[in-house]
Amino acid sequence: MTPGLSAIDASAVAAARARVPAAFGAPPGRQARTAILWLAFLAWLGALLWWFDVSPVRIWNGIGGVLTILRLMVPPSPGEHLDDILKGLGESVAMAFLGTVMAALVAVPLGFLGARNVATNALFRFSLRRVFDGFRGVDQLIWALAYVRAVGLGPLAGVLAIFTADIAVLAKLYAEAIENAEKRQTEAVEAAGARRVLVMRFGLLPQVLPVMLAQALYFFESNTRSAAILGIVGAGGIGLQIAERIRIRAWDEVAFIIILILLMVAAIDLLSARIRHRLIGARPAP
């Protein structure tokens, strides 16, 4: 009936395009900008590929090398030193546990000092937070390498590295948890005539303790992953075993250790998730 509803065929579209080209695409200015952005992106990409010497030949040869390694990894074998591997695995978990517990213990008072509703001196709080930020920028592995030079090879360096790297992050999270605590409970304890310390003990701590424990558990999980590699720089744990096996190109043993690490990480995740559920209920941690 109406001509608009009858067939819109290709020729009609072409005619319309010829009449009002602006309706069929972005305005020319924006098109030009998009084109320039794409060109700049491609130029950057090309420059990087040239700089890092990424050529098809190199990629091809590398993939060949990876395939050879993968073929040598099957079947995974424990080799002759299964006891060393298991000991390294246990050492990694122990390092992660000890480092996390120590960091969490130190982070609690630091968190109170960094929280807005507890520490009233703004300048002090500000500088403390900046120190936290600075510590956060240094990777755990750098701490590990430094501690290896300071206290020698072995798991102690790894424990200290986990401890140092986690204090700042945990303290920041704890400070945030304390700031987010419900004010009415602390006010109630205060109204009942309690001293400042008692207000924190009975008004604040019961609210934030489960959150703090849950955060510490999260860190324990992530630290078991990182404790598995700290050994690469000599800070104890399974990383040492894996680095040694790679050095002598015992790829089947490397694969075996990697599988064990995956299993260990999965087991720790499961355990920690169970404990977390009991602590804070089904609600996911923030």
Partner: protein, 302 residues
């Protein structure tokens, strides 16, 4: 009346029962707490034993920590602070190789950027088959892709780097690929979660008007999820910059290689100089990327 009741509570049998119940409950709670505490303490002792942390090693080690970190700190003298690089105690003397280190830091950031780009591209391709709501018809593909992403994610990038250095040779390429592999797994999972939270009605619309599955993804899903993808990729770039600064420890390029040398040969003051540079670069990128992320998320909300 209420004040009178408060002043002298009636000491009837009901109050006694409540008191008894309360103290019984408190006893039970205290026993439970003590039990958990004992388990924790035992675990700590076992952990300390297993990781060789003993009073003797601690007593021997802790003084050396202070000593070492004291040596690392630069000796700056106030009156010579802005003197030339030849004067001991000046900033220029401390940072005497600033040009080389700044270039290495730039290289590291570009490694992280390229690795994030590669990882995000791979994750973009893999996340749609790894989303439960898009793969109702093909549960096998779904779980295979999911397992692959899990595998990529769980192996640390440093382990990938150790292996790839054998295959690709010492240098930045091995590091970039190692970080990209790990990023694929990490971002793939996050991307898939975003897709699973997407509104499916636009997809139904595209499919109903005759579009294929790919058309549906392109025109119904991607426009919804792209801002979140970008934001996650930027967040990952921040993480990868930290990772790229240490991946050189195993010979995979970037400033980590220099840092490893400097720490291993005990060039004390250079350690603090390089670490300071890394901290500055990381916090600068964090700041910029946080701004961009907030803008992306704000722009995504109509």
């Amino acid at each position: 009346m209420t004040t009178a009741a408060l002043a002298a509570p009636p000491a009837g049998p009901a109050v006694g029962r409540v008191l008894d119940a309360w103290s019984a409950q408190r006893r039970a709670r205290r026993t439970a707490t003590a039990g958990y505490g004992a388990v924790c303490l035992a675990a700590l002792l076992v952990a300390a034993w297993a990781s060789d942390v003993r009073p003797a090693t601690l007593a021997a080690g802790i003084p050396r920590i202070g000593e070492y970190f004291w040596l690392i700190l630069p000796t700056l003298r106030w009156e010579a602070l802005f003197a030339g690089p030849k004067v001991e105690g000046s900033l220029a003397f401390w940072m005497y190789r600033l040009d080389a280190w700044a270039w290495l830091m730039f290289e590291t950031s570009q490694m992280a950027a390229l690795a994030t780009l590669m990882g995000a591209a791979a994750a973009f391709v893999l996340c749609f088959p790894a989303s439960r709501n898009l793969m109702q018809g093909a549960p096998v593909t779904f779980s295979v892709v999911r397992r692959f992403l899990e595998l990529f994610r769980t192996v640390p990038d440093l382990v990938y780097a150790l292996i790839l250095v054998w295959a690709f040779g010492v240098g930045p390429l091995a590091g970039i690929l190692a970080i990209a592999l790990h990023t694929t797994g990490a971002l793939g999972k996050l991307f898939a979660e975003v897709v699973e939270n997407a509104d499916l009605r636009p997809l139904d619309g595209v499919r109903a008007s005759g579009g294929s599955w790919l058309h549906g993804v392109r025109f119904a899903i991607v426009p919804q999820v792209l801002p979140n993808f970008l934001s996650y990729a930027l967040l990952r770039f921040e993480i990868n910059l930290r990772g790229a600064s240490v991946i050189g420890f195993v010979g995979a390029g970037g400033i980590g290689q220099e840092l490893y040398t400097v720490i291993s040969f005990n060039y004390y003051e250079e350690v603090s100089a390089i670490v300071l540079l890394i901290i500055l670069a990381v916090s600068a990128i964090d700041l910029v990327s946080e701004r961009i992320r907030h803008r992306i998320i704000a722009g995504a909300r109509p």
